[in-house]
């Protein structure tokens, strides 16, 4: 319908690859590829037309290439029936894809120093970002953390795409033993970073945001929330985010995000409705809460 918004396509699978603990699927999707900006994601239907798995699975876009008019690659690990089904796809199978979805990473106007921090498969979104940043003359430093060596994604690409690449694993099987956030401060100091970009689990994003705060530099975080629609209509993916006007709203991760300014996200209040959020109970008179029956349909 428009040149900017998402499209829904039936896209042939080009390749399915095993990459350590992950799978990478490349699809031919020119309309998605041409609209894509780094930080955006796609959602993929799983299980076929009459699937009992109703909900699409969201995946960060890991790579976009001009081949065959435009290809898109995404990365996942098998975590349930849906991703197991995807892992069994073969070249030329068709996937029902919607994208690109979500707000992309804002890019700096000037060639500044950027540190990119990715936890687990969250590092996938940072690769196209690194490319965009380098095209603008930015210095890029990677900090990638994972549970173990086989979950460190694309160490070679990270080294190639960045001035430095630092790796941490929980078990010490690759790079430094410890967490990504243990190493981040040193990288910021050494690289004289001006801005942080991060993607990964919520506790990690929270710590990354705190560290960026210590150094007084801005941080953009990409959240990985559970999503039912990915298009902004179901309101299932909300987190409390402070707006420009200082008011906290329950913002949709899929369309208001997934990229937010770190300091705007109320990490400590995720999973709650903060009492001062717009429209929170008590915001006006609280009405008969408690008990199993107090669910509004919808």
């Amino acid at each position: 319908m428009s040149d900017f918004g998402p499209v829904q396509t039936r896209s042939p699978v080009l390749t399915v690859r095993r990459v350590d603990a992950y799978y990478a699927i490349t699809i031919v999707a020119p309309q998605v590829a041409e609209r894509f900006r780094s930080g955006q994601f796609i959602s993929v239907a799983v299980g076929g037309d009459q699937s009992s798995m109703l909900l699409r699975r969201p995946f960060a876009i890991h790579d976009v290439k001009p081949d065959y008019g435009g290809t898109v690659e995404f990365l996942f690990s098998v975590r349930g029936q849906g991703t197991a089904w995807l892992a069994e796809r073969r070249s030329r199978d068709l996937l029902d894809v919607v994208g690109p979805l979500g707000r992309p990473f804002p890019l700096p106007r000037d060639p500044v120093n950027c540190v990119l921090a990715g936890g687990g498969s969250g590092s996938a979104v940072l690769f196209p970002l690194a490319q965009s940043l380098r095209r603008r003359g930015c210095r890029v430093d990677f900090v990638i953390g994972a549970a173990s060596a086989d979950r460190v994604f694309s160490a070679i690409t990270a080294r190639r795409a960045a001035a430095t690449a630092t790796f941490t694993t929980d078990d010490g099987s690759f790079g430094l033993r410890g967490r990504l956030t243990d190493a981040l401060g040193q990288v910021i100091e050494d690289a004289r970073s001006d801005v942080v970009y991060a993607c990964g689990p919520m506790p990690m994003l929270r710590e990354v945001t705190a560290i960026a705060g210590v150094y007084g530099i801005p941080v953009q975080v990409s959240v990985e929330e559970a999503m039912a629609c990915g298009t902004g209509i179901c309101m299932s993916c909300v987190i409390p985010v402070v707006g420009e006007d200082g008011i906290t709203r329950m913002a949709r991760s899929c369309v208001d995000g997934p990229v937010f300014r770190g300091e705007r996200v109320r990490f400590d209040d995720i999973g709650t409705i903060p009492f001062d959020a717009l429209g929170a109970p008590g915001w006006k008179a609280q009405s008969g809460e408690g008990g199993v029956a107090d669910r509004e349909a919808g």
Binding site: L54, I273, L278, E296
Partner: protein, 315 residues
Amino acid sequence: MSPDMRTRLGRVELDNPVLAASGCAGSGRELAQFFDIARIGAVVTKSVMLEPHAGRPAPRMAETPSGMVSAIGLQGPGVEVFLQRDLPWLMSRGGRAVVSVAGSGVAEYQELARRISGAEGVEMVEINLSCPNPAAQGRHFADDAAEAARIVHAVRSNTRSDIPVFAKLAPDVPDLTALAGACVEAHADGLSMINSVRGMAIDPRTLRPAVAGGMGGVSGPAIRPIAVGCVYEVHTAFPDVPIIGMGGVRTGADALEFLAAGASAVAVGSVNFSDPSACVRILRELEEALAERGVSRVAEVVGAAHRNGGAAPNR
């Protein structure tokens, strides 16, 4: 020859009988990225309340077999923003609006009806009765036929007379036909059914309810037989009352099933999440299914299951 898809809901005639269900299409803006929103019969807008509402804490949703459990808690910006921003947008795209209202008591529903029926471009009003009644320990208005009737009466008498008012029913009530009857007696012009079915999913890892707050509403194809049964039953009792049928509509064949059970229109809910072009696809599939059967007007199949000798004999 393509069949005549026009359908009548009280005083209002829609170009076709495929609607987007409340809470599953916002006010149409997001879905309009995927198709021309003016092509579907109408958009039933997300239930609007008088004031902004933050909704329930996350997690709000879990996938279940052929469906999902959700508890969103009616997050929305309140009626003022809805009337200033969302409704005018839908009008500007040529979309037709069925405005769903939700409140915590007669006074709020009344005030909402007044505000909404004064606005430009409101085709119909749908009353979401599956809202907790603070005066009844949070039980839903729909759980008590007399309470539901009071709400319907309040909305009907505060809405412009040329705007049909539909009452939206929940399936899991003590006596659905009695609830429908109470709403009709309170001058509802029609009935929408069904809202989601109360249920729960337990997270297999934490062994705690997967949706914050425990109970949620089950929606999607999993509930379709329940919904079709509800429509059939209520149409049997009130054959002249128009029904908007919903619950798991995924294909044109599903839509036809609801029409045959007695619905004059169908609304597509959760399937919009999995397929953002679902409404127009289902409309096309329904048209094809009717053409294949040689049906020239969609109105001909409404209630067909009742005329063909009713339920098939037991064998």
